[in-house]
Amino acid sequence: MLISEETRKKLAELKDKYPTRQASIMPALHLVFDEFGYLGVEQLDEAADIIGVSRLDMNETASFYTLFPKQKVGKYLIQVCTNLSCALMGADNLVEYLEEKLGIKLGETTPDGIFTLWNVECLGSCGTAPMMQVNDEYYEDLTREKVDELIENWRKGEGS
């Protein structure tokens, strides 16, 4: 069993919370994602069994939602918004700078497994562009200096 006792308990509580069991799928996806940082088929199957829906329905729904990576990603999942308002304010330069700094291209993870770099669509933060989301947090009005500082801090936290 992959899912922790604590998450299993929370999942079990979802089972009969809504008019249909199927409706506990979205909250369940978030619980599994919060624990693992991605949704693997094995975790989804386990969760499906706990909330009492078919494994197929669980996986089918999960596959629709791009917020949840389906494979393991870096400890820090950096998602730069490259939609229009951010692009107008230099999101492309930000992506380039991050690629250079991390030594990876968009879509890749650093060999030490610490950073993954993605570009995403509008995050509802267009007035503070350019911006990025890293795990659950928003980082706005980004400049090179701010990015330097953030990356240094995260690297330090990893002791490298």
Partner: protein, 426 residues
């Protein structure tokens, strides 16, 4: 003008119940419960002229009155906090800084429509806002504003939080319901409309965060007061989201019908680096673009419609003369292609095809006939899809090509994109 929704947006700790109450919060709720019958509240909201702030501008009270009378099925209220229309970022600010205002509006509105289970659907990325709201629901429950027999009125209400998973289509009301029900968020054919058959096939009302946040103020100050603000048919204030090439981007709560030019040059402090303006998208990425000489227009539902565009979600995206319109459009179509739910063919195939054409254009591989082809595809998508996402993708394409045709022709005849947008992502 006195601000309504943003009056306390900068007040420290406004997202805590004590501060919210010290500033007059939760005075409308007891008033609504004690002094009004549900149907009187519906009437009041109708009279106020309050129109939906989520994009379509449908009168809220009228929508509520579509619910079947005397139904024995549960009635649901959904608060649409999916906010994903590019250029829009107002609901997030309301939810992070003054969430009790939205919550109080939700409780009153739920009472007005005889609903006992309300759902707030946050876009998945709004993790912080959802966490704040979770705490607010606890605070309000402790005070007896949510739960059983609210303030001794005999009225019961539960408020549930749902979080999405990064899909723009979940902002569309029928897809949102599919998502809560636990399915892939494929839009439903309408009719039936949600008021008749919505969540779990029960009568359901869906409203935007900003729409419902106005309700406590209408209860406190009256429908006439609200109707006296703004224009005759677009009443109240509006939170305009200003982004792109302006000196002071951000959210501005102003009277409905503020002049777009004034919004950009006075409130927004003018164009970045004092460059000439080229184009403005007035109501979020889905609304037809305006040229620089078309911005002397009032920002309300009717005035923008008269100019062939829409108020939408009031996401104003400003572009100066350094913007390549082909690249800008490519960025938007890339979005719609990614976000199409894939249920109906015109939207799924149309957005993909348009995206491919625009990608080859900005790579310098466009053919002269591509410009007409692009327009032709868009005009065959519009009006032919299950939900309005297809229209939302087609409208920018048609307006960009119509108004900036020379740039498209230039790029398809060997010219280079002139602008700062770099990557042909994908």
């Amino acid at each position: 003008m006195e601000k309504i929704l943003f009056k306390h947006i900068d007040t420290p700790d406004q997202n805590k119940i004590e501060t919210y109450m010290a500033n007059g919060g939760y005075t409308a709720l007891p008033k609504a419960l004690k002094e009004y019958k549900p149907e009187e509240l519906v009437e009041m909201v109708k009279k106020s002229g309050l129109r939906g702030r989520g994009g379509a501008g449908f009168p809220a009270g009228v929508k509520w009155s579509f619910l079947p009378k005397g139904t024995d099925r549960p009635v649901y209220l959904i608060v649409n906090a999916d906010e994903s229309e590019p250029g829009t970022f107002k609901d997030r600010q309301l939810l992070e800084y003054d969430p009790h205002q939205t919550l109080e509006g939700t409780i009153i509105s739920a009472y007005a429509i005889n609903c006992h289970d309300a759902f707030i659907y946050f876009r998945g990325e709004f993790a912080y806002a959802a966490k704040v709201m979770e705490r607010c629901i606890e605070e309000a429950t402790e005070k007896g504003f949510i739960g059983k027999n609210i303030l001794d009125s005999g009225y019961d209400l539960n408020v549930h939080i749902f979080r999405g998973g990064g899909a723009y289509i979940c902002g569309e009301e029928t897809s949102l319901m599919e998502s809560i029900e636990g399915w892939r968020a494929l839009s439903r054919q309408k009719p039936p409309f949600p008021a008749g058959e919505g969540l779990w096939r029960c009568p359901t009302i869906i409203n935007n965060v900003e729409t419902l946040s106005n309700v406590p103020h209408i209860v406190n100050k009256g429908a006439e007061w609200f109707a006296s603000i703004g224009t005759e048919k677009s009443t109240g204030t509006k939170i305009y989201c200003l982004s792109g090439h302006v000196n002071r981007p951000g959210n501005y709560e102003l009277e409905m019908g503020v002049n777009l030019k004034e919004l950009i040059y006075e409130y927004g402090g003018g164009i970045l680096d004092d460059r000439p303006l080229k184009a403005v998208i007035p109501g979020g990425s889905s609304t037809p673009v305006l040229k620089a000489d078309e911005i002397d227009v009032k920002m309300d539902f009717e005035s923008l419609a008269a100019k062939g565009t829409m108020l939408g979600s009031a996401g104003v995206i400003v572009m100066h003369d350094g913007t390549c319109m082909v690249s800008a459009l490519h960025r938007l179509i890339h979005f719609y292609e990614h976000e199409s739910c894939g249920k109906c063919t015109p939207c799924r195939e149309g957005t993909n095809w348009m995206q491919k054409i625009l990608t080859r254009m900005i790579r310098g591989e466009g053919k002269p006939e591509d410009v007409d082809l692009l327009f032709d595809i868009a005009s065959n998508v519009i009006g032919n899809t299950v939900c309005p996402l297809g229209d939302a993708a087609a409208m920018p394409v048609m307006s960009f090509v119509e108004k900036f045709r020379d740039e498209f022709d230039n790029i398809c005849n060997g010219g280079k994109p002139k602008g700062t947008l770099k990557f042909p992502f994908k």
